[in-house]
Symmetry: C2
């Protein structure tokens, strides 16, 4: 049993009915139960990356594969604490990858629809070519910790540990940097290791980039989030960078890059968010 | 009836059984038939963006919504010319958006699993902030046309019209630029207008970026492609830029930006491709 209060526990799933005896073949529909825990919310609504992690645990369990190679969630309704189910439909089991879709639903309504391809990261090295440096920022102890209070930041920040780049943190004092950019460090509380499922949570854990832009925007609901996981992270802090280049057509994208302490890119993410009409 | 040989005709879908009487409510499963046409292939396999467009036509028709706001395809098997079906399952019909998943399958096997949120682009302007210029390149008549021959380029290039940036075109002569970057112009043949479904084809129409990198890579199969459509394009050429920053962990991403002739960003795309082990 993962420790109570851990991310592992908060994102765990249990089979509904007879536990599957092994990886589910294509065409299988599996059902899993989970609980959206208290305290993983932003103003009452569960963090989107946390909900995606619950769905991904179920998908990985059905497929019998550990790592989410590429996962996309479409957000249908906000999630509140309480019981949820995840229905997983296996689309393909191949040699290297398994693909499935899933619906995470409360008793009242579907919250997320997800598609994902899972596999096993690591193995023999292949050609590499990286032309972007890990985001430059001061070490964690010289960045700005985000701790939950009664008001801002939200309760979710008590579950994960964020340290923002000083240049990107002053939006909370009413002085945004002017650039839609959010850089900082991420880890789970109590030295809990970040597995490749927890990376999905990291990909949606930071304040919206537009909080640092001079735009009349109070919130940007996520329509869709895609994360690519490239490697299992080394223990330690994750170095994260989220940036937006196109606020246009009533939408904006937020591109994330996540490196581990060894300087390796472990995940990329992109979300499409809605710019509410003012 | 769209003209024979047009993209519109090649990507059209017909209802299987009674035509739907209007937008399908959540929970509906609709079936559509289509034909993967001859000539839209790369070395015998249908272009992935073309297959995605067929699936998206069916999804938009089921949802009763015109524009794919965000669509993700996971590629399960290569597609050959011939009949296919698209089974669409509607996940939600909301005020602004409808969300569905779909499976595009041949008689033998599923080819694509897709998730998409559709809506109506346009409407009242909202806050805008764009900090990336449209890709700089010579006008189409000073770029390099890609025409199909018996060998390279593939037959698909006879269906769409590409003009590559001279700096990015010499890979076909054995002299890659050294940068995983591919810039050029796209349009459909015979002045066919590019609708928001055809943008999905444009997002996967260019030669792989790694053809311009000095890597021992002959082909990079697409695992997943996500496209965000921001606006309906003005008539004319589309200005396209595809770039890769991270070839690592056995995968690479390819990020696309597509602008119309008025200089407006009409779509962004990202695909995750597999770097075959050498």
């Amino acid at each position: 049993m993962p420790p109570a209060g851990s991310f592992q526990a908060a994102s765990s799933v249990l089979p509904v009915g007879t536990p599957p005896g092994g990886p589910a073949p294509a065409g299988t529909v599996d059902r899993w139960s989970a609980t959206v825990q208290q305290g993983w919310d932003i103003a009452g609504n569960a963090n989107g990356g946390y909900l995606l992690a619950i769905a991904a645990r179920a998908m990985g369990a059905s497929l019998g594969r550990t790592d989410p190679i590429t996962v996309t969630a479409h957000y249908l309704s906000p999630g509140k604490p309480g019981p949820v189910t995840v229905e997983v439909e296996v689309a393909k089991q191949g040699r290297m990858f398994g693909t499935a879709t899933a619906t995470l639903a409360s008793a009242e309504r579907p919250l997320l629809r997800v598609i994902g391809t899972f596999g096993t990261l690591g193995g023999t090295p292949t050609a590499e070519l990286v032309d972007v440096e890990p985001a430059a920022m001061p070490p964690p102890d010289r960045c700005i910790p985000i701790e939950p209070t009664d008001t801002f930041p939200p309760p979710f920040m008590g579950r994960v540990e964020l340290r923002l780049h000083p240049e990107d943190a002053a939006f909370s004092l009413g002085t945004p940097s002017g650039r839609p950019l959010m850089r900082g460090w991420f880890r789970l509380r109590h030295d809990e290791p970040v597995d490749t499922i927890a990376l999905l949570c990291a990909a949606d854990a930071f304040p919206p980039t537009v909080f640092n832009a001079n735009l009349p925007v109070a919130w940007t609901p996520t329509v869709e989030l895609t994360a690519h996981v490239r490697a299992r992270p080394e223990p330690g802090w994750l170095r994260c960078r989220f940036a937006t280049h196109f606020v246009t057509g009533g939408f904006l994208e937020e591109d994330g890059e996540i490196w581990d302490e060894s300087g390796r890119l472990v995940a990329q993410s992109r979300q499409l968010a809605l710019l509410p009409r003012t």
